[in-house]
């Protein structure tokens, strides 16, 4: 039974669930994901493993209620159980051997960026975290991110927390024209943000890893729905990723492919809202 042990609101929009999943917890590493199904008629939906506790046999997932599946998931409470949960899937983030890293998270992407920041910190790297949110009231994981970083900058689009601007503004300042000795950047968030970060880091030749979120069904390499163009190759994000060299990723193609079911999703959410 994939029981929900704890459900906690992280902000107005984001929720964290701690799930009983001993086999997944035993193998999970930063950067990996699970596929879950809420109920019999539900989709197989991928969620990044935001944290894990091997001893307790639990994993955390963090979600924003944006689509039918997350709306459905959000109807569950602690004590309820998911119908299916499989993982850990994907390749773990490669975080060994770096001295100075900047981890950039955008909105919900901070949930995925946080475990990488934590892992880098535990491996002894100097870690800067730049997190971006639309406004102050949806900032989340601030204490967690602060605990695993040497420097934390939180930007808001509307300046409501006192730091107005995009994560790229803070990043440009940080790299300070010379790269400031950073040997790794990790960018996780909306596709336009990851693309913009890669444009900032490219002139410095700073290795920039992005975590991609394409549409997928099985998560084991079987459907090919998650194919992304990386350099001159087609990769499957589920088995070859989800992390890729951001300077090689065709973000426009990914953005476009992710829109394939947009209308369907809108209808599904509308019907769900009406209780159908």
């Amino acid at each position: 039974m994939y029981t929900i042990l704890e459900k906690r609101a992280l902000s107005k929009q984001m929720t964290k669930m701690t799930l009983n999943a001993p086999l997944v917890a035993k193998k999970a590493l930063a950067g990996q994901f699970v596929i879950l199904r809420v109920n019999e008629t539900g989709e197989r939906a991928p969620f990044t493993i935001a944290d894990y506790n091997r001893a307790a046999g639990t994993i955390d997932v963090i979600y924003q209620t944006v689509g039918k599946t997350t709306m459905l998931l959000d109807t569950l409470r602690a004590g309820d159980a998911l119908l299916d949960l499989a993982g850990p899937l994907g390749r773990p983030a490669e975080l060994d051997g770096y001295r100075k890293a900047v981890v950039i998270g955008g909105g919900a992407g901070c949930a995925i960026a946080y475990p990488s920041a934590k892992a880098l910190h535990e491996k002894g790297a100097e870690v800067t975290v730049i997190a971006g949110f639309r406004s102050k009231d949806i900032i989340m994981l601030e204490e967690e991110m602060r605990a695993v970083s040497d420097r934390l900058t939180i930007m808001t689009d509307d300046g409501s927390n006192g730091c107005r601007g995009f994560v790229t503004d803070a990043l440009r300042e940080l790299l300070d024209g010379g790269g400031a000795g950073y040997d790794l950047a990790i960018a996780i968030g909306p596709i336009p943000m990851m693309k913009a970060v890669c444009q900032v880091t490219a002139p410095f030749g700073l290795r920039t890893v992005v975590s991609l979120n394409p549409i997928m069904v099985d998560g084991t390499g079987m459907c090919g729905g998650c194919r992304v163009t990386v350099g001159d190759q087609v990769k499957f994000a589920c088995v070859d990723g989800p992390d890729f060299d951001g300077h090689q990723v065709d973000f426009d193609e990914l953005q476009n492919r992710n829109r394939a079911y947009q209308e369907h999703e809108r209808d599904a959410c509308r019907l769900f809202g009406q209780g159908i």
């Binding site: 008629t41 299916d84 499989a86 069904v217 099985d218 084991t220 459907c223 194919r227």
Partner: protein
């Protein structure tokens, strides 16, 4: 006195017009009277040529004779002794190149409809289940050992069933949330109803087989870990990695692998409004490929409301690997066939959606070394097939996920696992493998045959320990 009719008792089918509007089964199955009539065409040959054509060596004359005598439950017992998935095989086996091809009645006229009779015997039991469920046979003393089977597809399920019958404690590990492999995610309900698959899998559970879903071996557990607490491991993870064409435009929205399209429809039931998984409702569909999977995808697209569905194949119809019956059914339903055409480019519109498939005409040449006629492009013969969806059904390769974290499993250049041809033993002690993971994409029954052989080898290996 045998029935001397030169032709098979015809199979009742759903009307082609009606069936494109639903996912109900196309072939409806024999009535008891039709089954008896057909079974009486069997000559009960002493040398049983049909059996030599069956990869799992079903006692064909044996079960057919029981049907002819009106003893349906006895027929099932004979059948089930060598085949734990008879309702599946009766529907999806290519009998025309196996058992039925060797049938003596086929020399003058049509062979006995062995496949239809197999289906009949299995369906008759499902309709009126026998009261006593089959108990594990117990077997010899060594056969209490634990065996792990990886992959709940045709190979794994067959291997598991045979080992359970010998008394082994068998656990099947399945990556998906539902067992069955290609029987569940690949073959559509109109060819193989999902309750039929579920019923036969439940019967395996009745034999003592434990099935654990949502376990991805290579990720959740490794084969190495399974070896540590099982006496042997059978790998039957199939060939799940879809091939793409490698032509420009293949990443446009609206281009799907047949795996994705079929998984959405079959496993995730996207055709049913009650299920959340979406599938694109297309108007004009081009399916690339000439196998059974291409036929399945094309026929699903029709049922999802497409106005026009074309199968695009680079050779001619005579070379198509799909079963003739599937091609015939597809054509009856209105699928068009664009033969001797090879895609060169997928064309997109301003939204980066598919708007067409550019192809080049092909011409057949002389037969090559493998007996297949070669094909070559006809210069300057490009044409555009209008389409809003392109489904790529040009085969699959084995997935290497299963060996992550496990050393010493050798693969060949096509990524197929290398095994001993006789015993199906892999390059690691205690590891056996069969089905598409070894052969590359092949048929359900070939995988079942491999599962059966591996079960026998595993039994011999454990007895010899």
């Amino acid at each position: 006195m045998p029935n001397l009719s030169p032709t098979k008792e015809p199979m009742p089918t759903q009307d082609p017009k009606a069936r494109t509007q639903n996912f109900g089964e196309v072939a409806l199955g024999y009535t008891p009277a039709q089954a008896r009539q057909e079974a009486q065409r069997c000559l009960q040959c002493k040398n049983r040529p049909c059996m030599a054509g069956c990869p799992v060596r079903v006692d064909i004359p044996g079960f057919v004779a029981r049907i002819a005598a009106g003893e349906d439950s006895r027929a099932f017992e004979v059948l089930y002794a060598s085949n734990t998935l008879p309702a599946v095989c009766g529907r999806v086996c290519p009998q025309e190149i196996q058992c039925e091809r060797r049938c003596v009645r086929g020399i003058q006229g049509e062979p006995v409809a062995i496949g239809r009779l197999e289906r009949y015997a299995a369906d008759a039991l499902r309709a009126a289940p026998s009261p006593a469920p089959e108990e594990p046979a117990g077997g010899h003393a060594a056969a209490r050992a634990k065996i792990a089977v990886v992959g709940a597809g045709p190979a794994g399920l067959t291997c598991a069933g045979d080992l359970a019958r010998l008394g082994y404690a068998v656990t099947v590990f399945e990556a998906f949330h539902r067992p069955g492999g290609v029987l569940t995610y690949g073959i559509p309900a109109f060819r193989l109803p999902k309750d039929v698959v579920a019923y036969e899998i439940d019967k395996l559970r009745g034999l003592g087989v434990e099935i654990r879903t949502n376990v991805i071996v290579g990720k959740t557990l490794t084969a190495e870990e399974l070896l540590a607490d099982h006496a042997a491991v059978f790998l039957g993870t199939g060939a799940g990695l879809p091939n793409f064409m490698g032509i420009p435009g293949e990443s446009l929205s609206g281009v799907f692998s047949a795996n994705e399209y079929l998984t959405r429809v079959n496993l995730m039931r996207a055709y049913d409004e009650a299920y959340d998984t979406p599938v694109i409702r297309s108007r004009r569909v081009a399916v690339v490929g000439g196998g059974n999977v291409a036929m399945d995808a094309a026929r699903c697209a029709l049922r999802l409301g497409a106005e026009n569905v074309s199968v695009v194949y680079r050779r001619s119809e005579a070379e198509m690997p799909a079963r003739q019956e599937e091609i015939r059914h597809a054509r009856e339903e209105g699928v068009s066939f664009v033969m001797l055409a090879a895609p060169v480019r997928v064309l997109g519109d301003e939204r980066q959606w598919v708007r067409g498939l550019e192809c080049v005409r092909m011409a057949l040449g002389e037969p090559g070394q493998d007996g297949r006629r070669s094909v070559g492009e006809v210069p300057a013969s490009n044409f555009v097939l209008e389409a809003d969806t392109v489904i790529v059904a040009i085969g699959n390769r084995p997935n290497t996920l299963v060996e992550e974290g496990t050393a010493g499993l050798e693969r060949d250049r096509r990524n197929c696992l290398i095994v001993d041809e006789q015993t199906l033993r892999a390059s690691r002690d205690g590891v056996y493998a069969g089905g598409d993971i070894v052969t590359g994409a092949a048929t359900v029954i070939q995988a079942m045959g491999a599962g059966k052989r591996a079960a026998a080898s595993i039994d011999a290996y454990i007895r010899g320990k």
